[in-house]
């Protein structure tokens, strides 16, 4: 299944998701208020250690998950270098690194199912005002299962296009892909209706 959860089990996996999210929220608020270089550096080192405790392979995985944000970091640093605020830029980068690595740690050590259960609990009060939220888990599952299917269709459309044209397909694939998605939606609706006859 599509997920950024770590296959390496850590002590953090045993912490309740709600605690981890609370720690993340509080840390984020505090970190963005801090300006002291020493405290920020210390927090960064703590985060590094937290990622290192489960082992070097876990740390490597965490770093790999963070690589997509490197271009952003480079742009931010260049921006501050060009505007002559190098120190301010470095402080900002350390703040980002702390917050984003902590958020990444929460993502890597929280099971998707636990997160979904938490969301279902959080939105439960909405049920009292008449919203039917029984389908929430089903909807999450549908998206996760449909993405690989649509990617496979995209691959086939791409292959068909390339076998008939020397030009790259680019946006021209979007129209047939959307037709597939709409047809799929109709089939899925029928299937849900068949499985939930009493839910109207």
């Amino acid at each position: 299944m599509l997920n950024l959860n770590s296959p390496i089990k850590t002590p953090y996996h045993n912490l309740p998701v709600v605690w981890k999210l609370a720690i993340l929220s509080i840390t984020t608020i505090i970190v963005y208020q801090l300006e002291d270089h020493l405290i920020l550096t210390a927090l960064f080192l703590v985060l590094f250690l937290l990622n290192l405790i489960p082992g070097i392979n876990f740390l490597k995985l965490a770093i790999r998950n963070l690589t997509p944000i490197i271009p952003f970091m480079v742009i931010i640093l260049l921006w501050h270098v060009l505007t002559g605020a190098i120190v301010q830029g470095m402080v900002l980068l350390v703040k980002f690194m702390i917050v984003i690595s902590l958020a990444n740690l929460v993502t890597m050590t929280s099971q998707l199912d636990d997160m979904i259960v938490l969301i279902e609990k959080l939105v439960k009060p909405l049920g009292k005002i008449g919203l039917d939220l029984s389908f929430l888990g089903l909807t999450f599952g549908l998206v996760i299962r449909s993405v690989p299917n649509l990617l496979e269709i995209t691959k086939r459309l791409n292959f068909s296009w390339r076998s008939r044209s020397l030009k790259r397909p680019t946006w021209r694939l979007v129209f047939p892909l959307i037709c597939f998605a709409l047809d799929d939606a109709d089939h899925v609706a029928e299937a849900i209706k068949a499985r939930r006859p009493n839910k109207g």
């Binding site: 950024l4 890597m108 998206v143 993405v147 939606a185």
Partner: protein, 182 residues
């Protein structure tokens, strides 16, 4: 009800899948992906509530750690990065696109979906995006607005593509454009 669930889920999946198709490749080889095109199309096809919920569902899954953002990214960390505001803007933008489509059902499909995509998919999405960058980057607002202007031409191309796709859908399978059918 079942149809709504299926359409919302499949459109969230469709938008996620668009993240893996490079739509335009820039001269220096950087591919621009089209997830914002999915946001525009979601609103224009499904209408305000369903389109908005499809984008909301996608960003909730991204926040939960499912790697559905372009390039296989996901997780809570993205929402704390400078681009986090743009992600939050997706459901609002899709809602706005759908609202415009629903208000002008009889207008030419290309014209109205182009307008809806520009307003909802660009202007409305950029507002929380700029605000998020302003909060995180601690830079003057004007400087931030100036710096994101580089993305506008690409997004305008996506709005035109959105208009073309809605026009084709209205021509070949009008029943699919729910926002115009009610």
């Amino acid at each position: 009800m079942e149809r709504n669930i299926a359409y919302i889920a499949l459109f969230a999946a469709f938008t996620a899948a668009l993240g893996f198709i490079p739509i335009i490749t820039l001269a220096f080889g950087v591919p621009i992906t089209a997830q914002t095109l999915g946001v525009m199309l979601g609103g224009c096809i499904l209408g305000s509530w369903r389109g908005g919920l499809a984008s909301l569902l996608l960003i909730v899954l991204i926040a939960l750690g499912v790697p559905l953002l372009a390039g296989g990214r996901g997780g809570l960390g993205l929402f704390f990065s400078p681009s986090g505001g743009f992600l939050i803007g997706w459901p609002i933008g899709a809602f706005a696109c759908g609202l415009i489509m629903e208000r002008f059902r009889t207008t030419h499909p290309f014209a109205i979906s182009l307008i809806a995509s520009v307003i909802g998919g660009i202007i409305v999405v950029y507002i929380p995006g700029i605000f998020g960058m302003y909060l995180v980057l601690e830079q003057p607002l004007v400087q931030i607005i100036y710096s994101i202007m580089v993305f506008v031409p690409g997004d305008l191309i996506k709005a035109i593509i959105s208009g073309l796709i809605i026009m084709l859908l209205c021509k070949y399978r009008p029943e699919s454009v729910i926002s115009r059918n009610g």
